[in-house]
Amino acid sequence: NLAARLQETFKRLRGKGKLTEKDVEEALREVKLALLEADVNFKVVKDFIGRVKARAVGQEVLNSLTPGQQVVKVVYDELTELMGQTQSKLNFAAKPPTVIMMAGLQGSGKTTTAGKLALYLHKQGRRPLLVAGDVYRPAAIKQLEVLGEQLGIPVFSMGQGNPVEIAKTALEHAHSHGNDVVIIDTAGRLHIDEALMEELQAIRAAVAPQEILLVVDAMTGQDAVQVAETFNQRLELDGVVLTKLDGDARGGAALSVRAVTGKPIKFGAFGEKMDALEPFHPDRMASRILG
């Protein structure tokens, strides 16, 4: 693991006398490798190492008997700090209903997460309404309806119509049926698909969501930066959900997304079942990324 590799490096370096700043730089290459292997974006790693170096060349490291451990501590602390708070707080509307809009690439887990969020909010005593806003993917509407049925949560659908109209009408439906949270599922889309990104902007303009969540697959690689940056620029995200954390992907995309958008990761999804959603734990994510 990283701590062991760093200790090995420092052992070798200190063999030639007192540790220097240059020695710490060399050891930090191990950190760079670990982060790149964990899929953290190349440029994000560069910035991160720069920040860590500033903190890792102090006397407590250079004079330490276990400089490897010291550096790991600095890296871990810096990483945890970057990951943000254990806040999973969704933004709620002063006057209901609160509107939550899901967004993200194809297959990232939006529809499944929408169901999980509905259950999560239902357990909090709220009355959520799921909205079938994906009018493109074969059987997407049916998929959400099946989830809604399993959960006993209503699903609003207007078939394969116009997603903006669907969102607006769903809001009216929520008003007249006493639903205090509206969760809009949207079609997966590429951040470079002009028409579909405009569609998201149009939905946002029409129903003014309190919460726009970018759903990101934990196994996403270097591209996480492009995706998160573009979605954030076009929509002004409120939060991120990291999915498929029940796998063994190190999840460096979490750091990339955080570094490039500054937006909080609010939830982690850990499975296909509807109860597999947890508030995000930045410290656990930091250890996972470091391997």
Partner: protein
């Protein structure tokens, strides 16, 4: 990577950045660049403009220079089993593949082997309709191996040319789900010795280094004969297939470049390598 008057460390650093940012992975990248340095020395290359060409050849050596075809049965229906983790594009790729075979005048049967996920069967049913393929399906939550069995039986009686079996997405870390997949494969082989002729692992081009573990574990479980790399119409380069090829000799055969029925292409290694540097 222009503006270099001679071959220096900075040039290699730039090349390293390009490959790592394309998801080739840092270990694989360093290995390939070491080979390039060796070649540059051995051939006394002085012109930096030649280094990129040597690098491209080195990558082609890892992934194979020539396109690789889907395996066909020598007699009877060709059986293709499609596997991979959740959400990568298995069902969509099957729809596209079915249409390609139908357009070539072949008879195609699809097996709705994802009996678990909400509306998975409905989704494949729509694709079967689009492609003009027959669909074999059971109830939700039925045994996927039984669906595969029935699809093969139907293929025999209807004299189908192709059977494509869809399976539920599953993370390679879930041993019970991997056992289920092994059972599906065993049942296929028992019912039709030699089948499945092609086990296609679907990888998402946006995936990072985890694809290496996915490929290794799916290969250990059911023997993967080909890879379909999807979502190359995005900004991700799919460089992780180079890392996969470093350890496993599994050719990438197909690429997905969109969500419509004809967004399927053969994988052409030279084009892929060019795109890494685009």
């Amino acid at each position: 990577v222009t503006g270099h008057s001679h071959i220096d460390e900075e040039l290699y650093e730039e090349l390293e950045a390009i490959l790592v940012e394309a998801d080739v992975g840092v270990t694989t990248t360093m290995e390939i660049l070491d080979k390039v340095r060796e070649q540059v020395r051995a051939r006394s290359i002085k012109d930096p403009a030649e280094v990129k060409g040597i690098l491209k050849e080195a990558i082609l050596e890892v992934i194979g220079g020539e396109p690789s075809r889907l395996i066909e049965a020598s007699e009877g229906p060709t059986v293709i089993m499609v596997v991979g983790v959740n959400g990568v594009g298995k069902t969509t790729t099957i729809g596209k593949l079915a249409a390609r075979f139908k357009d070539a005048g072949k008879r195609v049967i699809l097996g709705a082997g994802d009996t678990f996920r909400a509306a998975a069967i409905d989704q494949l049913e729509i694709w079967a309709g689009r492609a003009g393929a027959d669909l074999v399906r059971h109830q939700e939550n039925s045994d996927p191996a039984a669906v595969a069995f029935d699809a093969l039986q139907a293929a025999r009686s209807r004299k189908a040319d192709y059977v494509i079996v869809d399976t539920a997405g599953r993370l390679h870390t879930k041993s019970n789900l991997m056992e289920e997949l092994k059972k599906v494969r065993r049942v296929i082989d028992r019912e039709m010795p030699g089948a499945p002729h092609e086990v296609l692992l679907v990888l998402d081009a946006t995936t990072g280094q985890n694809a290496v573990a996915q490929a290794r574990i799916f290969d250990e479980a059911v023997g993967v004969t080909g890879i379909a790399l999807t979502k190359l119409d995005g900004t991700a380069k799919g460089g992780v297939v180079v890392a996969v090829s470093r350890g496993l000799k599994i050719p990438v055969k197909l690429i997905g470049i969109g969500e419509q029925v004809d967004d399927l292409r053969d994988f052409v290694p030279r084009d892929f390598v060019e795109a890494l540097f685009a």
